[in-house]
Amino acid sequence: MKNGNQSAATIPLAECIVAGVGLLLVLATFGYLGQRAMREQSPPSFVARTEKIIALGDQFVAKVVVQNIGGTPVADLRVIADFGEDEPPKEVVIDYLPSRSDRRVGFVLKRMPSEPEPTFQFVSYTEP
């Protein structure tokens, strides 16, 4: 079918379907961002938990999940983990932690920690 003779009524069905799907996707994205724009952004808030502790040669690695349960992303989040008296406090800096997202970090330990769950301190962060 030639374009020159193509009227709205003769647009191929395939084009209509593709255009419809595209329109849906674009409108859905607009809608999602729009409803997010209406929502109030809560400040960042952090929680952390030890996922597992694994042996690494003659040392151990505590794999920890750090979550930002707030509604604002942060950068350079400094986390200090205290695994008890046998181990000096360990520190990690997370480059970026988006809102309602998590990142996995690892703390290398000399021995199996005495405390089953370390104490976490969220010391500082910057706004991206």
Partner: protein
């Protein structure tokens, strides 16, 4: 004595190397690209690589660097482009001392090269149409476009071309840290504005600002019809390509959907520019 066909092939090959360099040098000099390949999961790398060959095949069909002879010829073109992309990447990254065959494990070497080969091979296969002379078939296509000839096949060709353009530009910026940072800095309102801007740029580039290669809007069709059938699906493709790039480069891992949508719209802007430019160029 070299016959004409062999000579044409070697000239095409030289153009392919030039195209690979032109399209991939910025990414070869992007630090994040050196670590993405080796650290990607097999699923992500597999998805990227399995997407590469259909793209190369499609592009070879559109603008191969040797006159393709049927499906087999097109497939040969696609594989030659991949080989040229691979070797060019290996050569350049070795010269820059990013690759060190003596010290790097094979898995890391392959990881670094594989990811960089994608834009390089796209550049290689596009080399003929952009760096070489036009063929009769190109002229024929151009004439048909000028006449406003348009078939469903042509329509899907346009969508494919837009996807390639979107992929190329998105690939350029998706691995950078700045992409993530920009998305974090923006509010949802900024996201909506970026989407509007992307749509305006896409439509303007192709139909309004009178670039060379610009498509005329057929008189029988309203601007809205063209907007809905080309710009909107094109932008939807740009968004999907952006999401795919973000996922492939690990930027969506453990990240909330809010942030993923925002990052997708940010990357959607360069992808939209790439999609619309590709329609003008290819």
């Amino acid at each position: 004595m070299i016959d004409n066909q062999t000579k044409r092939f070697w000239i095409g090959l030289a153009r392919a190397v030039a195209g690979a360099l032109l399209f991939s040098l910025p990414m070869m000099l992007t630090m994040e690209m050196w670590s993405i390949g080796p650290t990607s999961s097999p699923l992500q790398m597999g998805a990227l690589l399995s997407m590469t060959f259909p793209i190369l095949f499609g592009l070879a069909k559109l603008s191969g660097f040797e006159e393709p002879e049927g499906w087999a010829g097109t497939a040969v073109d696609a594989f030659v482009a991949y080989a040229v992309g691979w070797l060019t990447t290996f050569m350049i990254l070795s010269v820059f001392a990013v690759l060190n065959v003596a010290t790097m494990p094979l898995s890391e070497l392959i990881g670094v090269i594989s990811i960089q080969t994608i834009p390089a091979s796209i550049g290689a296969v596009l080399a003929a149409s952009q760096l070489g002379g036009h063929t009769d078939s190109d002229d024929e296509i151009q004439t048909n476009d000028d006449d406003g000839a348009h078939t469903t096949r042509e329509y899907f060709r346009e969508l494919f071309v837009m996807a390639i353009g979107a992929l190329f530009l998105a690939f350029n910026v998706a691995p950078t840290e700045e992409m993530v940072l920009v998305a974090f800095k923006m509010t949802a309102w900024h996201g909506c504005l970026v989407m509007l801007l992307s749509l305006m740029i896409m439509h303007g580039f192709v139909f309004k600002v009178k670039f060379h290669g610009q498509k005329p809007i057929p008189q029988e069709q309203s601007a809205w019809s063209v907007f809905l059938r080309f710009t909107i699906p094109g932008y939807a493709i740009a968004l999907l390509v952006s999401l795919f790039c973000l996922w492939s480069f690990g930027s969506t891992a453990n990240t909330a959907i809010d942030e993923v949508v925002m990052a997708t719209t940010v990357l959607g802007l360069p992808a939209a520019v790439g999609a619309s430019s590709a329609r003008l160029i290819l």
